[in-house]
């Protein structure tokens, strides 16, 4: 077929997404090194898609991962100038590095944070940097692969009237039964409140999860529901009198609804 997507931007996008085979990856890496325009496209895609990392569940690496890294950085100071061929993906546009501009940027970034960081590093040093100093129960445990519970995943529901107008975005962590919901595009009519409902065939009627504020994150109350109910339910938003439904059931129109989809595929 005539392919309107056979463009440098398409190649850059697929490189960042990670779907290229070894040969095409190698070609893309040559372009990143030699073609500043292509490198810019790659950086753009890293910025667009990179946010997806937020949804990845952290996993503690096994004990002993740090020591080889520490040994390999040895006594050599890191080079501020890039190593040839060792350029980072986000910073490969120019092979000429304007060192003074870079240092100036660092000073600006670092200067404003110095006071905060001084306080913070003390905390970090005990809480994160030296986990061995913590009492046993607080210390990170090496993961037990064979007995690790199945990761129930994070879910996202886009509550909308139609595909073109997402109105609220609900994210749910089924493992911790925590959630947040945020208004994206719905108008806030004066004197009314949006109320979020859980609709499940396990209950005779919708269960209120609380009001969705005008601008702030709301924290729907999911703690009383089991994971299967949470992941199988439909979530709906109705327009209610200010302060919420007076009856405990939706009284106003149900404007937006959606089901959870797993945001990190199994």
């Amino acid at each position: 077929m005539t392919d309107d997507t056979e463009t440098p931007d398409g190649l850059a996008a697929e490189y960042v997404l990670g779907t290229l085979g070894a040969d095409e990856r190698a070609q893309a890496e040559v372009l990143i090194r030699d073609d500043p325009g292509f490198a810019r496209l790659v950086r753009g895609w890293e910025r667009r898609l990179g946010e997806l990392n937020v949804m990845v569940h952290p996993v503690e690496p096994p004990a002993g991962t740090w020591e080889p890294i520490q040994a390999r950085i040895g006594d050599a100071a890191p080079s501020i100038a890039p190593h040839p061929g060792e350029a980072a993906p986000a910073a490969t546009a120019g092979n000429v590095v304007d060192l003074s501009a870079r240092l100036g940027r660092w000073r600006r970034a670092a200067g404003g944070l110095a006071a905060l960081a001084a306080v913070l590093l003390g905390l970090v040093a005990t809480q994160l940097f030296n986990p061995a100093a913590l009492p046993g129960l607080l210390r990170p445990k090496p993961i037990d692969i064979a007995n690790a519970p199945v990761n129930p995943g994070r879910f996202v529901a886009v509550l909308q009237q139609n595909a073109a107008s997402p109105a609220f975005i609900l994210t749910v962590d089924v493992a911790t039964r925590t959630a947040s919901v945020r208004r994206v595009s719905a108008e806030q009519p004066a004197g009314k409140s949006y109320e979020l409902w859980l609709v499940s065939d396990r209950f005779p009627g919708p269960r209120s999860l609380g009001l969705v504020g005008a601008t702030e994150f709301a924290r729907p109350a999911l703690a009383n529901y089991d994971p299967a109910t949470i992941s199988g339910a439909t979530y709906a938003v109705s327009l209610e009198p200010e302060g919420g439904s007076p009856t405990g059931a939706p009284t106003g129109p149900v404007l937006y609804a959606g089901k959870l989809v797993e945001s990190v595929p199994p």
């Binding site: 996993v59 445990k141 073109a164």
Partner: protein, 181 residues
């Protein structure tokens, strides 16, 4: 909990050769990066190898990190994903089905980055992805989280590889148009 700004500060110290800062950066980011590479590699020995290469590269390249272009964690995850994907592409003998259900991991400790609110940029991205067909959205998510090639996606989705390529490129183009709108 370390914010992106605090990580920027640590990166600046690492760029100057501060080993203690590097160890703090490692402590603050290791679980996120390990989670990312383990999903792609699905083998602990390979994940350990990629973790070493990734942090060496971070140590050597910290001076190139530009806080105006990316957040530290996005920059670090991009390095880790690139290393992991390069490794799986070269190890074609590693079947994607191998050990497929043994390697479902859960977080066993709270991570300083994990409890962060969903960012506005992520919300915008998810809203744009919500406009894609369900199958194309799944295609993009599988590719991102598992690092699957077109060939692997073609096998999984039982669709010819050229069609997968077209779907991917159009989905990505649609995402870009939506985000840039």
């Amino acid at each position: 909990m370390l914010s992106a700004q605090e990580l920027v500060w640590l990166m600046a110290a690492v760029a100057k050769g501060d080993r203690a800062a590097f160890e703090r950066l490692y402590a603050a980011t290791r679980a996120k990066l390990y989670g990312v590479v383990l999903r792609i590699l699905r083998r602990q020995d390979l994940a350990d190898e990629v973790m070493q290469e990734t942090y060496l590269k971070i140590w050597n390249s910290a001076g190139q990190f530009d806080p105006a272009l990316a957040s530290p964690i996005t920059w670090m995850v991009a390095i880790a994903r690139n290393r992991a994907i390069d490794l799986v592409r070269k190890k074609t003998e590693v079947s994607i089905e191998e050990e497929s259900d043994v390697f479902e991991f859960a977080a066993d400790t709270p991570d300083p980055l994990a409890k962060r609110e969903m960012t506005e940029a992520l919300e915008r991205l998810l809203a744009c992805m919500a406009k894609l067909d369900e199958e194309r959205r799944r295609l993009v998510l599988f590719a991102y989280y598992h690092g699957w090639s077109r060939e692997q996606l073609a096998a999984r989705f039982e669709t010819p590889v050229n069609t997968i390529k077209t779907w991917l490129r159009r989905a990505l183009r649609d995402i870009r148009e939506c985000l840039d709108a």
